[in-house]
Amino acid sequence: MTWTDIVFERLKANCLEVVCHVPDSVLAPLITRAEADPFFTVVPLTREEEGIGVLTGAYLGGRRGLLMMQVSGLGNSVNGLASLAIPYQIPFLMFISQRGELGEFNAAQIAMGRAARPVLDALDIQHFTLRRVDEVAILTDGAIKTAYTAQRPVALFLSTEMVGWKKEG
């Protein structure tokens, strides 16, 4: 099984029905599969911060979900996390494709890629990183479980070690 297959299955098993996203090439296969499956309500966003709002509303309405985005989108989401998700205790998974680490060609991706974990640490949002396919199921299940216990978002980073990196051009 690919990491996409495993994550898809774990999202369903954990009832994360509402899938908010801004597309990213690494996440594209997962987005496509979610769109094709009526189990999921897929919400394409214009900006990642909207997803914090949508997932808050969905949770108020009794549905679980996740925000899929590239790490640059985390930068766009910070006040939503700080002022809405955290004080109102709204749990969800943030599934984040990493840029700015191994193999990065785009200088504009470096700063946010590196700042992502310190920003989450500053917000006291837990994060875990998927580095090997054989740990994807356990880390995904574990991150989701912790989010709903803590009533707080949890982030799962998709490392370039596992998924490879974008080639220039």
Binding site: E50, G53, T56, G57, A58
Partner: protein, 158 residues
């Protein structure tokens, strides 16, 4: 398509608190999300109820919260109360709502052309910007810009 959007230009002709009271009495079963600013204070002034959700600091996210709630509870009427400041901070929300097009979401923008809580600094709607046009341009199917209480009441019935 249902009522995805409704802009209310409050050029002193619609009393926001009065309109909020009318709304709550007209649609008592609705779930109501109120954005930061006076929208939420006026909603609370009508009497706090469990189906109210008050947003304190996330300017721009009220319509997004309303969308999530409407998608999660398709049989419930969901109403978003927000100001022009909030709408201008996250105009993309109009696009996302138009794209998802939930039939149970009503989005009301109390447009008084200013950031009232921070001292009344004018927003762009006081001069150059037309939020209703932005809503139509975003793809919302039902957009009304109303300037009187009777237009508001009629608009609600639609």
């Amino acid at each position: 398509m249902g009522n995805e959007g409704q802009g209310i230009k409050g050029r002193g002709l619609i009393n926001r608190l009065g309109a909020t009271r009318y709304l709550v009495s007209r649609v008592p079963q609705a779930l109501i999300v109120a954005g930061p600013g006076n929208a939420k204070f006026d909603l609370a002034a009508t009497g706090d109820r469990p189906q109210h959700f008050y947003i304190w600091n996330s300017l721009g996210l009220a319509p997004s919260v309303g969308l999530g709630l409407a998608l999660a509870q398709p049989k419930q009427q969901v109403i978003v109360l927000d100001g022009d400041g909030g709408t201008l901070m996250n105009p993309g929300a109009l696009v996302t709502i138009a794209r998802m097009a939930p039939s149970n979401l009503l989005h009301i923008v109390w447009d008084n052309g200013q950031y009232q809580l921070t001292g009344g600094q004018p927003t762009a709607t006081a001069t150059v910007t037309d939020l209703a046009a932005m809503g139509r341009g975003a793809g919302l199917q039902h957009v009304a810009a109303v300037t009187t209480m009777s237009e508001f009441e009629v608009g609600l019935e639609t």
